[in-house]
């Protein structure tokens, strides 16, 4: 973030973070198969950084656990994310970051569907279409300046 530039939304609402997932005895048991569930997917996404603010997507309520749906048996993951303001120019970038994070973190068998929460963004349809288009996602990641921003969103926060 550069010093002088103005942010689109300088004072967004900040939400409380959920705590760490509680570990159960089953988690430690070698013989029990833990299915991939909504919370697990949410845990993968919550630490993604917002491209503008030093805040995570969870703190900005861009991703919420209730908008994460996974079906482990049928290999489907569906995510809806909510931009902080309806004209947020970062929506595509945020969607792309979510998609890339999941592509890197989930087994190949999953089909990953990332969409904007219905009714929360001015150009919802266009963004959804871009995110659903495999070729366009691949092409976007060939663009090194775009990849750079995505990677920054996926880096663990430092100093």
């Amino acid at each position: 973030m550069s010093g002088g530039s103005q942010l689109e939304n300088a004072n967004p609402v900040v939400f409380q973070r959920t705590g760490e997932r509680l570990q159960t005895a089953n988690d430690e048991d070698e013989d029990i198969h833990d299915p991939i569930d909504d919370r697990e997917i949410f845990d993968i996404l919550l630490s993604i950084n917002d491209p503008e603010h030093p805040l995570s997507l969870e703190e900005l309520n861009v991703v919420e656990q209730v908008r994460v749906k996974v079906n482990d048996a049928e290999n489907i993951v569906g995510i809806e994310f909510t931009p902080t303001i309806p004209h947020c120019s970062m929506a595509t970038l945020i969607g792309l970051s979510i998609k890339v994070k999941l592509l890197r973190s989930l087994p190949e068998r999953f089909k990953i569907d990332v969409q904007i929460t219905p009714g929360t963004h001015a150009s919802e349809e266009a963004v959804n279409k871009q995110l659903a288009d495999k070729e366009r996602v691949a092409a976007a990641l060939e663009n090194s300046s775009l990849l750079e921003v995505v990677n920054q969103c996926l880096s663990s926060r430092s100093g």
Binding site: M1, G3, V14, Q16, D27, E30, D34, R109, S145, L147
Partner: protein
């Protein structure tokens, strides 16, 4: 006269050889001649005559150079007259051809070090220098020469230089203007620092001096790799900062510059600017700052509001505190405006309204800014709190959402804490006194909320209030105790009860009375109510919650017991839990009894060490514990039905901790009495000091007959006592005690009994004075142990092994020479068919800290770095043994190795790792999962800062780690994934070649059966993706 002639001939030949023969070494010989008095400097000048007047500039330069080098060696021996002649010569030579300038400057520099410098010469030297030399057209080393001249003269001729007035500053400014080399900059900054800090007259050149130095701000310098000069960026930053911040005369130039540089996109430039700002305002007065306050505030606000870096935020807040405290220092005159008020009004105007938006991002940056200003001075904290507290309190009351209230409460707490530093005297009334009633009612209302985060925050606000004078009245304390008690008894959530217990501990230290009269009786009543008595059909969940209540009560009793007066009341309650549990009059679970012991131990640990509390443990607690344990032991043999919980190993171990902690802290006299009583109880069955004395007279606790384990295991309590006493305390009847302990440890069949006997023996041996007695004792024991271990048919092999390993540890810790014999025996057992794996595990016991005895807390003789010493003496043995061992025994060696290495400090691990690396990599492919796991946990910390040896073996390391990610044991999979994660932060060019392979291999654990494994895989794979990718790493 003959020698004189010979000397002058020698001198002429030296000059000739140096000047025409270009033999540099002759300079040294000439200097030696001067120093030894063979010829004088002036004779040298004479001898140089021809060269100095030569028409060839290079010959003249060579001549001057010889003279300068000699002066460099001999400047200490010159007379004032000689110096005068030389100076006139050198000053004149400054006007000569440019090739002569370098040796002239060297000569002048040598003269600046002369003690015999005549008055006025410094001024004349500098005048010529500034007039005739353009410093920045000189080479690097000549420029350094000039700076060094200035530094030397500033040391010795300060008054004279100051006489030059501002001309000196101007001359210096001209000399350094345009300097580019960091080495020279350090020198030039040093001169500038001297000018500023030693009171030289800047005259009208303040701005020039500022310009010529500030053009380097902010410093951007990265030393070349393998820089031989060792100049760091930090060093440059600090010296320049000292210059720029050194005088308020620079304020009007520096402050606008800082405002400008804060606009930079470079993080380090911002940071440097903020730190420079903090440094400079400490020297400024309000009038220096006045016209820039608005600009500074705008920049600081922007940085704190928008930054994503914690460092910038912290630096920005520190700068705000510094500015505020500068303004607070100013003395007000009747006609000037109060600049502190004006400034704080600015801050409040921009920040205060954000405090009313507790769910928006800017609430915290605003609060932090206000708190930073608040912490600067008492006046500032009055102004700020008066402005923000009413609205915060009102907000709290009008908001209904818990998350909003919690944020407001946290903000309030930070305000309370921020004034701590600015209050000059402890007894001074808190600035919050005006808000006392509202603060208290806010806290108490938050404590009654059902939201646990709110409750937790409220407890810490309560603690903060208690720590400031006058914020809690006695009636408030009582009310607080009521709230805390209620939460302890009713609130199920663990986070809340932890916070409540902590808060109770903090308050009880300040206000013990209310806790004695209210909390302790109430907790006692609650713990001793027995849910089973009232209704046998109670559901188990209710029993569970009753257990949780007791658990909380027990830990609260411990937490509040810091003042002796509280201890007098709380320990009887804890003791009563033990006696009721033993008698069976109230049903306490084993776990609850253990917790009661833990609480007693905590009390022993934290209570203020007074005679009074020492007596309490010596006279009451220790005898009662022993008495209860003995009653249980005697009953154990006879009664059927109710089996006392005090016979349980877990309870006994907890009792050992109580006894051991309190014995280790007893005053010497009490300790001696306790030792006497306890030893006579165990050796001769003397029960006279025990309360409730109805014991038989023929008790023999160390003579185990048949299966009377219930009595023999009491030896652990003996251990807790005699092994924890201060070393100065003499344990009575030592020889008999040792021999009975040895006998018991080698013959008893009950594990807790023989292990405790062995540990007790070892604990005493560790503290025994050096000498023949000790040596023969050890040798006797060693012989006995080895006999048992070597005889194939021994039935007490394990017992002997246990004694051996504990004695070995006791001796190893104190560097006793005989420890080697025992540890060598342990090494040899690694090849033993039966004891091999046990021996390998034994190294873990040997190298790790033991919980109950042989620790520094128990006053044991523990030398520093005994682990390193053991390691360096034995690692070769281990490697040899490994190489020589048959295949099926190799895992024992690897396990022993990982047990040893795991316990070494990280620094040692890193230095020793190269030698062991191949063995450790071998261990990673050893099929034994324990070996894999402990090797991985050894490697993991080392990976954070990998030694070159490890990087050379990267291929093998990565391969083995990747293999382990499909191990059948989930812990191995998890740890190996963590290691792979760590490898991603190795130097990029080393690991980049593995990227594709690692990413492919990590795809599999993404679909692992276990969630914890998948989590590790996700994290590791994410990092490897970022490696070498734009925006990644």
């Amino acid at each position: 006269m003959g020698t004189m002639a010979a000397d002058s001939a020698l001198l002429l030949s030296l000059v000739e050889e140096y000047v025409s023969g270009l033999q540099d070494s002759k300079a040294k010989d000439t200097a030696t001649g001067v120093r030894d008095g063979l010829f004088t400097v002036l004779q040298l000048v004479e001898a140089l005559g021809l060269s100095l007047t030569s028409s060839q500039p290079h010959t003249r330069a060579r001549g001057v150079q010889l003279l300068s080098e000699v002066l460099h060696e001999c400047h200490g021996n010159l007379t004032e007259g000689e110096v005068e002649v030389l100076l006139a010569f050198y000053e004149n030579r400054l006007k000569d051809h440019y090739v002569i300038t370098p040796p002239v400057l060297q000569g002048l520099r040598a003269l600046t070090k002369c003690t015999a410098l005549p008055p006025g010469s410094a001024v004349s030297m500098l005048r010529s220098l500034f007039q005739d030399v353009h410093v920045q057209s000189l080479m690097l080393s000549e420029r350094a020469c000039v700076y060094n001249m200035l530094i030397n003269l500033m040391e010795s001729r300060e008054a004279e230089l100051k006489g030059l007035g501002a001309d000196f500053v101007f001359g210096f400014v001209q000399s350094m203007d345009g300097e580019r080399d960091p080495r020279n900059l350090l020198l030039a900054f040093q001169v500038a620092n001297n000018i500023i800090h030693r009171g030289y007259d800047l005259g009208k050149f303040a701005e020039e001096l500022f310009e010529v130095t500030s053009c380097y701000f902010p410093i951007d310098f990265s030393p070349p790799p393998n820089d031989p000069h060792g100049i760091t960026k930090e060093e440059l930053i600090q010296t320049l900062r000292d210059v720029l911040t050194g005088t308020p005369k620079f304020a009007e130039f520096l402050l606008p510059l800082i405002i400008e540089k804060l606009d930079s996109d470079v993080l380090s430039a911002k940071l440097d600017s903020l730190q420079t700002l903090t440094a400079c305002v400490s020297r400024y007065e309000h009038k220096d700052l006045a016209e820039f306050l608005e600009g500074l505030w705008a920049s600081l606000r922007r940085e704190v509001f928008q930054t994503s870096s914690e460092k910038i935020e912290a630096a920005g807040l520190a700068a705000l505190t510094a500015i505020t405290s500068c303004l607070s220092r100013s003395v007000l005159t009747s006609d000037s405006e109060d600049s502190l008020c004006t400034f704080l009004e600015l801050v409040l105007k921009d920040c205060k309204h954000h405090l009313c938006e507790p769910d928006l991002k800017l609430v915290w940056p605003s609060a932090k800014l206000l708190q930073a200003a608040c912490s600067a001075s008492n006046r500032a904290s009055h102004i700020i709190t008066a402005a923000v507290m009413p609205s915060l309190l009102e907000q709290y009351n009008s908001r209904t959402e818990c998350s909003h209230r919690r944020t407001l409460l946290e903000v309030v707490q930070r305000f309370i804490q921020s004034v701590k530093g600015s209050q000059s005297r402890e007894k001074e009334e808190s600035v919050f006194v005006a808000f006392r009633p509202s603060l208290c009612s806010m806290v108490f209302s938050a404590l009654t909320e059902s939201n646990s985060s709110l409750q937790i925050t409220a407890t810490s606000v309560l603690t903060s209030l208690a720590q400031q004078t006058g914020l809690l009245l006695d009636s408030d304390v009582e009310l607080a105790v009521d709230h805390l008690t209620r939460l302890l008894l009713m609130e199920e959530e663990e986070r809340v009860s932890l916070a409540v217990v902590e808060c109770a501990g903090a308050l009880a230290e300040l206000h013990p009375a209310a806790f004695i009269t209210k909390l302790i009786p109430r907790l006692k009543k609650e713990m001793f109510s027995d849910p089973m008595d009232q209704d046998n059909n109670r559901v188990s969940s209710e029993q569970k919650s009753h257990h949780a209540v007791r658990q909380r009560c027990l830990s609260a009793l411990a937490a509040v017991s810091t003042q002796p007066s509280v201890v007098q009341e709380s320990t009887p309650v804890l003791m009563e839990v033990l006696s009721s549990a033993h008698a069976g009059s109230v049903a306490f679970s084993i776990e609850e009894v253990v917790l009661a012991c833990r609480s007693l131990q905590r009390v022993a640990e934290q209570v203020k060490d007074t005679e009074e509390t020492g007596r309490c443990f010596h006279d009451i607690i220790i005898p009662r514990l022993l008495s209860l344990a003995l009653q249980a032991a005697l009953q154990g043999d006879t009664s059927s039905g109710h089996l006392s919980p005090l016979l349980q190993e877990s309870v006994l171990s907890a009792m050992v901790s109580v006894i051991s902690t309190s014995c280790s802290r007893l005053q010497p006299m009490l300790a001696e009495q306790t030792a006497l009583k306890v030893v006579s109880l165990f050796l001769s069955g003397d029960v006279s000091f025990l309360p409730d004395n109805s014991f038989p007279s023929n008790i023999q606790l160390l003579k185990h007959e048949g299966d009377s384990w219930s009595q023999s295991q009491m030896v652990c309590l003996l251990m807790g006592c005699v092994c924890s006493l201060p070393r100065s305390v003499e344990v009575p009847q030592m020889d008999q005690l040792l021999s009975e302990l040895e006998e018991m440890s080698c013959s008893c069949s009950h594990q807790l009994s023989y292990t405790s006997a062995a540990k007790c023996f070892a604990g005493l041996v560790n503290k025994r004075p050096q000498g023949d007695d000790l040596d023969s004792l050890i040798q006797r024991t060693m012989k006995r142990v080895c006999n048992e271990l070597d005889s194939a048919s021994s039935s007490v092999c394990i017992q002997a092994f246990t004694l051996m390993i504990w004695v070995a540890k006791a001796l190893l810790l104190r560097y006793h020479p005989l420890s080697t014999a025992l540890t060598d025996k342990l090494f040899s057992l690694l090849d033993d068919a039966d004891l091999g794996p046990m021996a390998a595990d034994g190294f873990s016991l040997l190298m790790s800290d033991s919980a109950d005895i042989l620790s520094r807390g128990c006053h044991a003789d523990v030398r520093i770095m005994y682990r390193q010493r053991f390691f360096s003496e034995n690692s070769a043995k281990l490697v040899q043994g490994f190489n020589a061992a048959p295949q099926e025994k190799k895992p024992n060696y690897l396990k022993a190795l990982s047990n040893i290495v795991n316990n070494l400090p990280k620094q040692v691990q890193i230095t020793e790792l190269p030698a062991l690396l191949s063995l450790m990599l071998e261990a990673l492919s050893c099929p034994d999962q324990d070996v894999q796991l402990s090797t991985l946990s050894c490697l993991e910390p080392v990976l954070a800062d990998p030694p070159p040896a490890l990087i050379r073996q990267l291929e093998a390391l990565v391969n083995r780690l990747l293999n382990l990610t499909s191990s059948p044991a989930m812990n191995v999979r998890i740890t190996s994934l963590r290691c792979i994660h760590a490898v991603s932060s190795f130097p990029e060019h080393e690991v980049l070649p593995f990227r594709a392979r690692v990413l492919r291999a990590l795809a599999r654990p993404l679909d692992d059966n276990k969630r914890l494994v998948r989590r590790g895989a996700v994290q590791a794979r994410g990092e490897w993706f970022l490696l070498g990718s734009p925006g990644g790493r």
